[in-house]
Amino acid sequence: MKEINEQEIIKAVKSGNYEAFGLLVDKYKESLYSFIFYSIKNEAAAQDIYQDTLVKALTQLKNYREEGNFKAWLFTVARNKVTDYFRANSKTVSLPEDTTADIFPSKENTEKEVFSKISLDNIHVKIEALPEKDKEIILLRQYLSFQEIAEVLNCPLGTALARLNRAIKKLQKTLGEEYAL
C-alpha cells in the first residue's frame, strides 16, 4: 500500500503536479540529509548539496523508471552530488566541524553517559578517518537496506556485504581492543 502511494505520487509529479514532490521529500528528508551531512562533514555545503539533490531529483524524475526503487534512486543522485563536491574541492581540505563540542557534560549528565558519548564520538571520528569507500558503505547502510545499497553501488548484494564487512574490519582495527567485546 505504501509502495503504491509512492508510485502514485511519482506519477503525479511526472504529470506536472510538482507540489506532490514535497510528500516524497518529507518521507526521505532526514535519512537523505544525514547521509549527505556525514559524507562531507560541512553543514553549509551539506545543506547546498541537499537542496541541489532534491532539485535534480525533481527535474530528472522523468528519467526514473517506475519499477525501480525510488529511495535507492534518490540516494544515487545524492551520492553523485557528493562525489561532484569532493571532485570540485579536491584541492581544498575542509576541516570537519568540531565533534567534541557537545560532549562536555551538563549538570544532569551522569559520568556514565558522558563516557558513553565520548566513546560514540570516538567511533564517529574513526569512521571519518576511514577511506572514502569504506566510510561510504557504512553511511549507506545506516539509511538503506543491503538490496538498496547494491542498487546504488550498481553491484551484486554479496559485493555490498563484502564491502561492509571489510569496512567494519578496518574500523575494528583502528578502534583497537577497547571496543571489542
Partner: protein, 141 residues
C-alpha cells in the same frame, strides 16, 4: 581464519536476517567472538551516526529544464566519443588499405597520331595576294 558466518552477522546486526536463519545464527553467536564483535561494532556505528534534522527544502518555482540542449545532448552521448573517433580512424585505415589492394599497375601507352597533311585544305591564295599588295605598297613608299 575469518568466520564463515560474517555476512550473517552483518545481516543480523541490521535486522535483515530471516527468522529461521536468525535462530541458527544466534546459536552460533553465543560462541563466536568475531561475529559478536561485528554485531557490537555495527550497533555502535549506528548509535554514533545520529540522524540529523534536514533543512527546509525550497521548491523551485518551476523545475529547471536543461535549456542548453546542445551541451545536454553532447554530455548525454559523451560515452560515444571514443567509439566515434575509433570508427573514423578505422574508416580511413580501411579506405587506404582498400585503395592499396585494388590499385592496378600503371601501363604506359604510346599514342600515334594518324594525321595526313594532304587532307588539310590549305587555300592560301588570298593571303598571297595580300602579301604581294603589301610589298608593292612598301616599295612605292
Amino acid at each position: 581464519m575469518p568466520c564463515k558466518q560474517e555476512n550473517n552477522a552483518l545481516l543480523y546486526a541490521y535486522g535483515e536476517l530471516d527468522e529461521n536463519a536468525t535462530k541458527t545464527f544466534l546459536e552460533h553467536l553465543k560462541t563466536c567472538k568475531e561475529c559478536q564483535n561485528i554485531v557490537h561494532l555495527c550497533a555502535l556505528t549506528t548509535a554514533s551516526l545520529t540522524p540529523k534534522q534536514a533543512p527546509q527544502f525550497c521548491m523551485p518555482a518551476k523545475p529547471v529544464e536543461n535549456k542548453n540542449f546542445k551541451i545536454g545532448f553532447l554530455q548525454k552521448f559523451r560515452w560515444a566519443y571514443p567509439a566515434l573517433v575509433f570508427g573514423v580512424f578505422a574508416l580511413i585505415l580501411g579506405f587506404t588499405a582498400f585503395e592499396f589492394a585494388t590499385k592496378k599497375p600503371m601501363v604506359s601507352t604510346i599514342q600515334t597520331l594518324d594525321f595526313n597533311f594532304d587532307d588539310v585544305d590549305t587555300d592560301l591564295t588570298d593571303l598571297e595576294t595580300e602579301i604581294t599588295d603589301l610589298f608593292q605598297y612598301m616599295q612605292e613608299i
